[in-house]
């Protein structure tokens, strides 16, 4: 019987701690290490395009551009912005990557195979923090999974500070206790994505548009991490685990009790 082992590495990226790992048969250890490096490269490529803090990124250029500008944007940026536009429509613009600076003041259009990002107000600024991390996880995961596709029995995962995607291996997932520290066994995820957000009192993150008393500490499992990441915001804002945007993407959402995971 072939012996399986795992390789896992962590680096600071996407403003958090990212872990990339694979479970492979022992003879494929060297190949797995090379595949991990490709996944890191894929993650860095998405980060460069989507960071709101980098003035050279697509988002940075949009934020600095004057009203009326149409910017040619990269495929990654276009994919995330189109997904964000879908969610904005489905939630009546509660999911808002402009964070209140102009939900209707940006749009993505096709222009002969390239994507153009239009800016319709000088004050609109985009921040893809609510969806880009999940998207970056998906791209890194897909780079890794494609590279290990021919390895019998291989599994792999990417976890960006709690937004994770996995396939081919039963990954025990612990849920961090945001109030008291520590982590509890919570789920075994073997194929799909999971993300958790916390907008409760004392949490680090703030959510524009979330009414008081609505869903605060939320997890969403979905087929892709971009959706699990973004849908945690939808559930946190609307308080609905069965929001049509969740159901449409075959996702499952949980709102955790204040005292800890339920």
């Amino acid at each position: 019987m072939t012996a399986f082992g795992f390789i896992r590495r962590a680096r600071p990226a996407l403003g958090t701690l990212v872990e990339i790992g694979a479970r492979v048969p022992a003879p494929a250890a060297r190949e797995a290490a090379a595949a991990l490096e490709e996944a890191w490269d894929a993650l860095a490529a998405v980060e460069r395009e989507l960071s709101a803090f980098d003035p050279e990124s697509d988002v940075g250029r949009f934020n600095a551009a004057p009203e009326g500008e149409a910017l040619a944007i990269a495929d990654h940026t276009a994919a995330v912005l189109r997904a964000a536009a879908d969610l904005a429509r489905e939630t009546g613009w509660l999911f808002d990557v402009s964070q209140g600076t102009g939900a209707g003041a940006w749009s993505v259009a096709d222009a002969g195979g390239a994507a153009l990002l239009h800016k319709r107000s000088a004050s609109v600024r985009l921040d893809l923090g609510g969806i880009a991390k999940g998207y970056a996880v998906d791209r890194a995961f897909e780079a890794l999974a494609a590279r290990l596709d021919h390895v019998d029995g291989a599994g792999c995962w990417v976890n960006a500070g709690g937004d994770l995607r996995v396939a081919g291996v039963e990954l025990p997932v612990f849920l961090r206790d945001e109030r008291g520290g520590g982590a509890r066994p919570w789920m075994v995820l073997s194929d799909g994505a999971l993300a958790t957000s916390d907008y409760g009192p004392g949490a680090r993150a703030r959510l524009a548009g979330a009414p008081e008393g609505r869903g605060r500490h939320v997890s969403v499992a979905a087929p892709r991490c971009m959706w699990s990441d973004a849908l945690t915001k939808v559930v946190a804002i609307t308080g609905r685990v069965d929001h049509p945007a969740v159901v449409l993407r075959r996702a499952v959402a949980w709102v955790h009790a204040e005292a800890g995971p339920c």
Partner: protein, 188 residues
């Protein structure tokens, strides 16, 4: 999409009032040993020398003021060499967050260019034990040396996004310390 919930945590939440919940277990992952990390930062190195350096007090104070971060005086450097040529230096350090302690390695070549930062270990504590010396010391030198670990210890953690600011600050501090030691002519 395939997942299953672990039922024990459900029953805790359903039957126990908040105050009676047991303390959450700690969570720890060891990624790399210091030796593996230094080789990851300087794959072209043939040898490493572990040497301790002491920052002169005026230099330490000036670094602290410039960085806005505490800077200690004693630093253990891992000097990377190929033959007699010094390639650069790596430092393994710890940073402590609200509930976590992260061990990482950062380094720079002799030209000052930063190398890829690698995480050696991540530990999530419960409560404030992260501040206790005993808790911090229990993990020292635990990681093994093989590239491929055998077993099923692949647990992951989900939660509100962990801030990495303290790691970023730690990397900035190491870059500044290495630059100061290079500038003083101490790195040879």
């Amino acid at each position: 999409m395939t997942w299953r919930r672990i039922p024990v945590s459900v029953s805790w939440a359903l039957v126990a009032p908040a105050a009676a919940l047991p303390a959450a277990p700690a969570f720890a992952v060891e990624y790399l040993t210091a030796e593996q990390a230094q080789a990851a930062l300087f794959p072209e190195a043939q040898s490493f020398e572990v040497r301790e350096f002491t920052l002169a007090e005026p230099a330490r104070q000036s670094l602290q003021a410039r960085l806005g971060l505490p800077v200690r005086s004693r630093w253990v450097l891992r000097l990377a060499r190929r033959g007699d040529e010094l390639l650069g230096a790596a430092v393994v350090d710890d940073v402590i967050g609200k509930f976590d302690r992260i061990t990482f390695a950062a380094g720079a070549g002799t030209d000052g260019a930063l190398r890829q930062v690698e995480i050696l270990a991540y530990r999530e504590s419960h409560g404030q034990e992260v501040r206790l010396k005993k808790w911090r010391e229990q993990f020292a030198g635990k990681a093994d040396g093989s590239p491929l670990r055998v077993g099923d210890d692949i647990a992951n953690i989900s939660g509100a996004t962990l801030s990495c600011q303290h790691v970023t600050d730690g990397v900035r501090r190491i870059a500044a310390v290495l630059a100061a030691l290079r500038g003083s002519g101490a790195l040879r």
